[in-house]
Amino acid sequence: MSPFDEEEREHEEPVEEGAGEDGAIVDGEGCAGAEIGPPQRKPKDPRKYVASWSERDSLDGKETRAWVLILRTKGCGWARCSMCGYHGESSGAGPDDIVHQFKSALEHKKGERIAKLYTSGSFLDEREISGDARNSILSVLGKQFDRVVVESRPDFINAETIREAAGLCPSLEVAVGLESASPRVLSHSVRKGFTFEDFAQKAKVARDSGARVRAYILLKPPFLNEREALDDAVASMSAAGPFCDTISLNPVNIQKGTVVEQLWKRRVYRTPWLWSAFEAVIRAHEGLRKAGLATRIVCAPSGAGRARGAHNCGACDERLIPALDEYSVKGDVNVLAHEMGRKCRCMKEWHDALDMGALHCVPYDALKNRKH
């Protein structure tokens, strides 16, 4: 049993069984347990990718499957965000190692139409993946998939790179971790190192150069209470909507070695309620449609239903998580509205959190976690 389990018991979270892993990541072949985030000093094998799996997704409104691969690179050049523990995955992988990782993973794909290639950093950062390696990977992907998603910080997005990449891979979607549109959330909570304006400008460059853009928005970054978090996520999705094709709402999960984990261990932070994710998606979805935007919203919370992920009371989580999945694939907001309409007793607790959240000086998560 990992020390992880201990902590979860300490918190007396309702869901204990099976806790101990982050959830969303399925072990990749050749990967000894996909432990995401721990700041381990153990040298990682640069020839082995972090993880790979297949998941439900949709393409142009039709359900399909996506092949996901996480490559092991030198890691994120920023690596300072308060909620991100992925820098524990880095190694000294060179271009040959990375191409090898890609090829060995590709053997296991099973006819998926979408490819998602992540690096725990920026795919377009040449410090992580050299231009040659990137081009050789993209040209393979461009031939085999109908949609290719890669991630990058705005710093590495420029017209030249995108044009070259989109030329090899016409269905390219560049995902940017915007996290929030609020300058204070970006600087003091997430510590993102770039601004909303940086994102907006580079998103336009990417789109003008032939790529699609996906924005990640965080639900409940540190130091925000449930109410502030919900409002910030909705406002950020509305602000990002005009600049991207897809928005992925990411409820914060507790990753090892992060500021968020410290907050959580100090018992002053609770991961967001699934109800908040529902509410945020419904409000943003309706807002975007009202504004005449077709931007798609997806939400697949990591570790959902567990102490370290977005969760409710433990009784309703199991029916709510598939609904988020269903919405993400089908885009039908009524799926979410219907589930919210079915309610659960814990909804009152969630409403308390939102209510008390309006009293900005009251640290409600902290006092709810108090045992005495």
Binding site: S182, F223, E228, D355, C361, P363, H372
Partner: protein
């Protein structure tokens, strides 16, 4: 504007006028949100909109993290004073850059027109923020998981911000917690934890809690209403059926009606407790209330950390005397041993006290239930035997007692010796024994007596603290005839060969020892060459020129000075307050104080001095550090001053 009305250590009753109304503290702000409506009986609220025209409302303020920037709703100038400025709630140690949360809070405060300053992140060691009258101690709730850290943070906050700022601890306010937190210097609470407790089915009392399924224990209006049997239930077994058991879901969730009734009950309980705490502060008895509320381990731990690790801070504000109406200290448990004023008394007996030089025989006596000791039957019997020794002036009566340790008899009326009560069963617990033994050992080695007579049957554990030559009277009741005869014999043996001490001089020497205890090393000079005269129960001191230097009032137990007495002590005591160049009348306000001797505590007898010239004598209302903060209010109540007739008589 903030005015402190009464003080009891770090706790105080204060009146804060802001935003056009007044808040009496300690108090609890009842939250008012869309779903949790304000508790109507409450005296003050935490709400975005005013709950009542007459009652005090603190506004929680806006989020510091808004997007897009909120267009702020119009808030009147007055209402801004009681609005918490937006601030990032970042715990210390988790900031991106140390001090960024504080800097953001400061910037926000400056722009806000508020009198409330939100403390966030790492705060500097000097937190004298101009215009701030209330501090939001935002990490209090988080730190209540860790009493040691809470004590450290609280002490740091008090040191940084000073005494004369109110402290609001958001997220704290359960009835069981209010007394201790007030004792630790927190003035304002809120009802958010009452709602959280109600949501998990807890009915709170001061010092107790129950599950919501347990009915019938409370008769507050909320519980009475909630538990009235439904129509048609008449004729049921009056003893009631088994209460319905809550579903075993691992944690208890109650339905909305139950929640509201429970929450209302919790509000009643907390408001009652707040009022009880205020009463205890007015009576000088908060510590007794605190000890009676120690119902949870973390509370005991917090009090212990405060006593053991931050006792010096608490002591700085602890009164040196209390009105007789306070009823004296009740030392009921182990927690009482560490009481700051008790620890101070023990410390001063070891470090400040010096025995009368002529009293060379130490006689250790047990305490008595009746105080002062000398008025008890047992002590009168001891006194008779001391007189029979034919050199009573050479015998120094010292009482050994818990929790004070060692009390020289001349200090018997000095607070807290003058009135305290302990449960006496003849059993001593380990800590008690250790404290008394160490106290006695230091006392005996510092005072260097010629011989020691120990008349403490049942306290054999003190043996190794005493010199080997000590004469022990035989075991058995201390007041039995055999025991008293043995005492007389032992005393005769001890005084044999000692020069005879004049009784008058012996008594004067004891009073000089008291003066030294009260005013410091040179305090005994106050009574040099003086004669003593009883007037009723009060004792007056006169110089050979027949000028009165002071008197001891029975209930105060301290020397009250005249101007002549003040002149005698001028320049010789730390109990001097330097004031501005003005002729004071009956009171000196904190604003008029320049510097105050660091040992000054509320209740101390002090000299008001300007440039080496005595301007008045009187009783300190504040402790030295509060005087030096120059807040509002009286620092010294003068008894005599230069311009008054009797004081100016020289």
């Amino acid at each position: 504007m903030l005015e402190i009305l009464t003080r009891d250590g770090m706790a105080r009753e204060a009146r804060w006028s802001a935003g056009g109304s007044e808040l009496l503290t300690p108090n609890i702000l009842f939250v008012h949100t869309g779903r949790i409506r304000a508790f109507a009986r409450g005296e003050a609220f935490l709400s975005e909109s005013p709950v009542s025209e007459t009652k005090f409302t603190v506004r929680p303020g806006n989020s510091w993290f808004p997007v897009p920037p909120l267009s702020l709703p119009f808030v009147s100038e007055a209402a801004r004073e009681t609005t918490v400025p937006p601030f990032p709630q970042i715990p210390a140690g988790l900031e991106g850059m140390a001090g960024e949360a504080h800097a953001a809070a400061l910037e926000s405060f400056m722009a806000s027109g508020s009198r409330i300053f939100p403390v966030s992140g790492v705060f500097p060691s000097e937190l004298r923020i101009k215009g701030a009258e209330v501090l939001v101690f935002s990490s209090a709730s988080e730190n209540s998981f860790r009493p040691r850290d809470l004590a450290i943070e609280l002490a740091r906050l008090k040191e940084a911000a000073g005494y004369s700022k109110l402290v609001y601890a958001p997220g704290l306010g359960e009835p069981s917690h209010i007394a201790l937190l007030a004792y630790c210097g927190i003035d304002v609470f809120d009802s958010s934890p009452l709602a959280a407790a109600a949501r998990s089915g807890k009915r709170l009392f001061a010092g107790w809690k129950m599950d919501s399924s347990e009915k019938g224990a409370c008769h507050c209006p909320a519980c009475e209403r909630d538990e009235r049997p439904p129509a048609g239930a008449v004729g049921r077994n009056p003893l009631g059926d088994e209460p319905p058991q809550p579903p075993d879901t691992g944690r208890l969730l109650v339905d909305e009606g139950d929640f509201l009734a429970l929450y209302e009950h919790n509000c009643y309980a907390a408001l009652s407790e707040v009022r009880t705490v205020r009463h205890a502060i007015r009576k000088g008895r908060l510590r007794e209330l605190v000890e009676s509320r120690l119902s949870e381990p973390w509370l005991v731990a917090l009090l212990r950390h405060m006593d053991l690790r931050h006792g010096a801070l608490l002591e700085r504000f602890m009164p040196i005397a209390r009105p007789e109406s306070s009823g004296g200290i009740l030392a009921l448990s182990r927690a009482s041993l560490g009481r700051p004023e008790v620890a101070r008394f023990r410390d001063r007996v070891v470090h400040r006290y010096a025995r009368p030089p002529s009293a060379q025989v130490l006689l250790l006596l047990p305490c008595s239930a009746r105080k002062p000791y000398s008025s008890s039957l047992s002590h009168r019997a001891f006194r008779f035997r001391i007189e029979m020794s034919r050199n009573s002036g050479a015998v120094h009566e010292v009482v050994v007692t818990s929790p004070l340790g060692v009390v020289p008899l001349e200090l018997e009326s000095f607070y807290p010796a003058g009135g305290y009560d302990v449960p006496v069963t003849g059993d001593w617990d380990g800590d008690e024994m250790r404290v008394i033994r160490e106290q006695l050992r230091s006392f005996v080695s510092a005072q260097r007596y010629d011989s020691v007579v120990c008349h403490l049957p049942g306290m054999e554990f003190l043996k190794d603290a005493l010199p080997p030559s000590t004469i022990f009277t035989p075991p058995g009741a201390a007041t039995s005839r055999a025991s008293l005869v043995a005492l007389e014999g032992a005393l005769k043996e001890a005084v044999a060969g000692l020069p005879r001490v004049n009784r008058r001089e012996a008594f004067l020497a004891r009073m000089q020892a008291l003066c030294r205890f009260q005013f410091g090393e040179r305090g005994s000079e106050l009574l040099e060459g003086c004669t003593l005269k009883y007037q009723g129960p009060n004792l007056k001191f006169f110089t050979p020129q027949k000028k009165q230097v002071g008197m001891i009032l029975r209930e105060r137990g301290l020397v009250s000075l005249t101007m002549d007495g003040g002149m005698r002590l001028l320049g010789k005591t730390g109990y001097e307050v330097q004031i501005g160049d003005f002729k004071p009348s009956s009171a000196i306000f904190a604003a008029g104080v320049l510097r105050a001797g660091k040992d000054i505590r509320p209740g101390d007898e002090v000299l008001a001095v300007h440039g080496g010239e005595l301007r008045g004598v009187g009783i300190a209302v504040m402790s030295a550090s509060e005087m030096e903060e120059h807040g509002k209010g009286t620092a010294i109540k003068l008894r005599h001053h230069v311009s008054s007739k009797d004081g100016d008589s020289q």
